[in-house]
Amino acid sequence: MTELCELKYDEIEVGQEIPTFSHKFDRMDAIIYAGAGGDFNPIHVNPFFAKEVAMLPDVIAHGLFQMALMGKTVMDWIGDPGYLKKLSCQFRGMTIPEETVNFKGKVREKLEDNLLVLDVWAEKDDGTVVLKGGEAKVYLP
């Protein structure tokens, strides 16, 4: 049997940071996500509409795409996707093509029953916050 999680609840300390995942957003990411996620809002996929109609600087990344990358960041740490119990965040700054977003997390609290709460957030290289006030709850053996 392959164990997916190598962490142990007892070895985790409050304040511990998880490895940062960085992603440079490409306009194809939004097109592919639109197909996978079913959200074809033109502000994500049509540069003409984004700029000329919605008055945005360019197409912007889907919030749920970025939230999924946040989830991936936590799962990369815990190893077993089934141990991710809860994830929340506020969608703040917009991400346009060629911008890099850094997804981060830090252990806030150890709860009973082998549960942990992490603060999670995402920011661009210049510090602009993209996902704010996020929280992840995970189980560890």
Partner: protein, 147 residues
């Protein structure tokens, strides 16, 4: 502002059958190549016995009621001024290919802050055994007061 009488309005039940290739497509689109989302042979040797969906795949099977809310012709939200402000997913079990998910949802809250209107959707997704697998909460913000 959005009329508060819509608090409690329900959507669904909506059925969604989980497809193996769709699980893989969503994981790939969100840059996640871990084998337990993609490789049936690998997954056979895990406690799951088959591939599982990325938790955030709930954006596909668990938010369709929110889509109905956005297009609801009774509430008539001003979509041009609407942004997805916040999202929360809570998971209670994993999802595998061929699971049949039933989502029911409702308008959980409507409130204002300054000239922003907020409308909150809450959905519950259960599997074919009637087990709750995911609870979702989506907050939409409408600039300039709503509908």
């Amino acid at each position: 502002m959005i009329d508060h009488k819509w608090i409690g309005k329900t959507y669904g039940p909506m059925e969604y059958e989980i497809g193996r290739e769709k699980i893989k497509e969503y994981a790939a689109a969100t840059k996640d190549s871990r084998p337990v989302f993609h490789d049936r042979e690998f997954a056979k040797n895990t406690s799951y016995g088959d591939i599982i969906a990325m938790p955030n795949f709930a954006a596909v099977y668990g938010l369709r009621g929110a889509g109905m809310l956005l297009l609801d012709q009774e509430i008539k939200l001003n979509l041009a001024m609407l942004v997805h402000g916040a999202q929360e997913f809570e998971w209670f079990d994993v999802i595998k290919p061929n699971d049949v998910i039933t989502e029911t949802g409702k308008v959980a809250d409507i409130y204002e802050k300054g000239d922003l209107a907020f409308i909150v959707y809450e959905g519950e997704a259960k599997n074919q055994d009637g087990k709750l697998v995911c609870r979702s909460r989506a907050t939409f913000i409408i600039r300039g007061g709503g509908s």
